[in-house]
Amino acid sequence: MDELVRLRQFRPAPAPSAAARAQGMLALRTVVGGRRRRTPRPLIVVAAIIAAAALATAAYAIYQSVIVGSPAPANVKNIVRLQTEVRGELIPRAHANPGIEVAKTKAAAAITTSVGPVYLWVAPNKRDDSCAYLQIVALDLPGGRPNLSGGCSSGGPGFYVGIDYIRVKNRPFALVQGRVGTLGAKTVELQFANGSSHTYTITDKYILAETDPNNAIKTAIVRDSNGRVLAQRRYSHPLSPSQQGQQLLHRLHPTGPWKTVATLRTIGKHRLLAEKTAPGSNRTICSELVTPSGTGGGCNRPIGPAGLDIGPTQIGTAPHGWFLLDGPVGAKIHSLDLRFEDGTHIAIPIQHGYILYQVNPQNFVSGHRPTELIARDNAGHIVNTRRFGFLH
């Protein structure tokens, strides 16, 4: 038998594993979510195909059996459920999406684009967040499995718009999308760098439409039904896919040497982790978390004196993964306590203005889970707090 044939029969490829996929997605979402908290708002729009969605007036029409406002089909709900009910989670995360009501997932937008239908599915959750999942049908998986991208973000009264750039079957494809929580808002006018403008009707707080990948948004104006301006945002660097990408990927970069500010030996295997920082472009500070398996980070504006930009980061999955608290603390913060459900607390060491701390897995038991970070100044006064959300 040919050695290649024999090799291909050796250790047959395993069947796709939904559990492994869910765990992988969780690990990725944890990192993406953990880093997103430090990302300036305009960059959020670029980095994620999340939460945003939209609706042109025509989207209310029926498209290929998807009716805007109608319940999502079972296969869509299954994927939403898979994305929210993952296993392997070590600990409740502050950016988790508690209480998403999968059964109430419905179509918020259905548009026809140059790459085929694009749907936006939204689901409520108990925190009144905005949970939205984009489906570009051309990217669906074999077997009719919807290829959803999305998650939950703050459902507050603000607004954001952006252009999302995606390659679909090797074609550049751009969606203008946004969420408008402004009370009484009816339309969003986008003025582009090439002098053109377009007004989008807001439906159920979302806008979604295909746009020219070369477009760049200069100004976004939110209006009520009488045309009165409710909110307006000008972009100093017009938002376009390429420019957003440049801003995200190239403009914000380290401009000086990296310096290790905090280190940690993990519990059990004693792996060395390090938090490093370097001065960044555009008056940012770059930071990265270095682990044996990879490095992740970004460049962000410096935090204020009482700032507490600590995000929970999960690397790996239960039972062997690590749950870390890492990030910068403001100069005014003298001490930091991690409080547990039963009222006990422990001090978290601050190293050169950063913390890098692994929560002991023994503290994950119900009744003794971490609930809150409490920051105090040198007089012992509480100057900031950060609560963790619970999934269960």
Binding site: R6, L7, R8, R11, R21, A27, V31, G245, L249, P292
Partner: protein, 163 residues
């Protein structure tokens, strides 16, 4: 999108390489690493597959001792720890021994070709080596396997019946 499109194939490859637990863990790390390194990805590239397998290769490289140990153990005992769910499915310990004896770079190249179904150009891109190097590594690895397996043939069922 990248995750949805590539996870199953990357996961499948890594499970074959490193076993269920480690493979799943590394597969997660591949996409976390890809996210962290997204700035290095050239959007002009039509396909992210080689890039992701390149990341996977780097992560596997750090665990090459684990894999080599696993292959040696299998060669010795006939129990494939990489297939904990079905250890007796294909007790090809001779092949495990032969694989374990390959140079890591040759093994990486061979398995990207045989298990990940990458072509020469994609392997070159994944491992950041010239296509010529891929060809020579593949030739060497296949020759070495052929030699090692020459005394331990596994016959097709038809061959067994006819022979």
């Amino acid at each position: 999108m990248l995750f949805e499109r590539h996870f199953d194939s990357i996961h499948g490859y890594l499970v074959r390489r490193a076993g269920h637990d480690s493979g799943s863990e590394i597969a997660s790390e591949v996409f976390v690493t890809a996210f962290a390194r997204r700035s290095r990805y050239d959007l002009a590239r039509p396909d992210a597959t080689p890039w992701l397998y390149g990341i996977a290769a780097n992560l596997l490289h750090r665990r090459r001792r684990d894999e080599a140990r696993q292959l040696r153990a299998y060669a010795r005992t006939g129990v494939d720890q990489a297939l904990t769910n079905d250890p007796a499915e294909r007790p090809d310990s001779a092949l495990a021994a032969a694989l374990g004896a390959l140079k890591p770079a040759d093994r990486e190249t061979l398995l990207l070709f045989a298990w990940a179904d990458l072509d020469y150009e994609q392997i070159a891109e994944a491992l950041r080596v010239p296509v010529g190097t891929v060809r020579s590594r593949l030739n060497r690895a296949r020759r070495q396997l052929r030699t090692a397996l020459a005394d331990d043939p596994i016959l097709h069922p038809e061959e067994a019946i006819n022979g």
